[in-house]
Assembly symmetry: C2
């Protein structure tokens, strides 16, 4: 049986890879990509059946790049999942914490572990392009004075030692991911739906747009705005709401929204991640 | 007469400095700060009367750091302004475009001038911490093979040559700035108001929150959400609407909002920037 190919951004052992594996548990083949654009393109051109992309982090907020790419491509959200981000100190086997003078990781991860660096002032944080990538690099160099900060999966994947688990400052650090495909989900019950719309810059229209859902007892879950690149101070609104496009009231609400807005697109209906 | 001190982030010649100068035209003293935190602190501790901070860019979207700092400090928005971001190629006098092999600037500015680098493949973009700072650095080094990308003011401030104006890809590149003070504006007519609020994560509450304005014919101008750091997937909402806290209907709406939300703060009423 052919394996399900899943594209994701980053190196083997990254949080995105772990998130993809939690959604497709068997008979899968992971396709690591350098950039988020590459993930979208891999799905669009059929190199992978699914693409796994981060959409939001509970500390940082929305991943704007993903929102912009969702708009530029015609892919459909098929599923969502979320992961707690646990940063671990990972080093080649035989290296102890006392010997370490340098710690490599993505700058965002380093910034989320400030307390660790305050408590260990002889250790210098050094920026690297990727969390799991920094573990891979150390597994190849075998440096005895260096460690990396990455997820626990990265230690396993590269046969490295997990020196210290959970060195992040804030434990409420979660990332939400979408799994994308060229095809929309078949009939989804008890789903949530993500859409994007824009409208003429007319005061009061945003309230009207939200009314089409409230008037039909459809709960709004999240709203996010992104500027339109070609027109100054106009926005695309990304909205998540309860319900699926297989429901009559949702279709009516979307019809009604079409009367008010200049552009509406359904990004997908999918089963919500359990919290 | 004592000069009005205005803190801003960046070097002399930056877009923030130009924005501050457009709001306070006479008898001013500019106080450059290394970070946005330093700008907020300078106003809070009285080192400067006003602080000038970017809040939103028409291509990138909100400046999240500023939103987070607005929440952490008790400052009041006194004014807003906006500037078109015009990136210019600036070099020491006597340097011509043909001789240039390196261009220094802030990575965001370099990224906004991709077409220039495509058209000039022998010129390498090099990241630097600040746009105007890269002009300052070249004015000191006098390098004959290098230029910087920054606003036109920077060329004037450092006595450098403006080799090429408007090398940015997108002309619709505008930044909106707030001027902050320890005191709220006195009675402001024909104003707009910015507030921040949060609420229990209860479906339908966002719609109710927006209703308090719609029911009083108060136009919503903008909405932005930022995650609450201590609670997963809950948000602060930042809202701009037409009207001032000197108006009865605005006060009633804010009272009503207080019934629905767990936290509301008025960030300021101020005259809108002309568009």
């Amino acid at each position: 049986m052919a394996k399900t190919k899943i594209a994701y951004q980053g190196e083997a052992g990254s949080f995105s890879e772990a998130a993809a594996e939690s959604l497709v548990k068997k008979n899968r083949e992971m396709v690591p990509c350098q950039t988020l654009e590459n993930v979208f393109d891999s799905v669009q051109n059929g190199k992978a059946e699914f693409g796994l992309v981060p959409i939001e982090n509970s500390l940082i907020g929305s991943i704007h790049k993903t929102y912009d790419l969702l708009l530029d491509h015609k892919l459909h959200i098929n599923a969502e999942t979320q992961m707690r981000i646990v940063h671990c100190l990972i080093a080649p086997k035989g290296v102890s914490l006392k010997k370490i003078t340098k710690v490599y990781s993505h700058p965002v991860a380093l910034d989320q572990c400030r307390n660790f660096f305050k408590a260990n002032p002889t250790i210098a944080p050094i920026s690297y392009y990727d969390t799991a990538g920094s573990v891979k690099m150390l597994s190849q160099s075998g440096a005895k004075n260096s460690a990396a900060i990455a997820g626990p999966h990265a230690a396993e994947v590269y046969g490295m030692k997990l020196l210290k688990r959970s060195v992040e400052d804030e434990k409420n650090n979660h990332t939400r991911f979408f799994m994308l495909s060229k095809k929309p989900n078949a009939d989804v019950k008890k789903a949530k739906t993500s859409i994007v719309f824009s409208m003429k810059n007319m005061p009061g229209v945003l309230f009207k747009a939200l009314s089409v859902f409230a008037l039909r007892d459809i709960d709004l879950l999240r709203i996010e705005s992104r500027p339109l690149r070609k027109r100054v101070w106009e926005y695309h609104f990304y909205l998540d709401f309860s319900g699926s496009v297989s429901e009559e009231r949702v279709l009516k609400a979307l019809d009604h929204l079409g009367e008010i807005t200049t552009f509406v697109r359904v990004l997908g209906s999918y089963i919500p991640a359990t919290r």
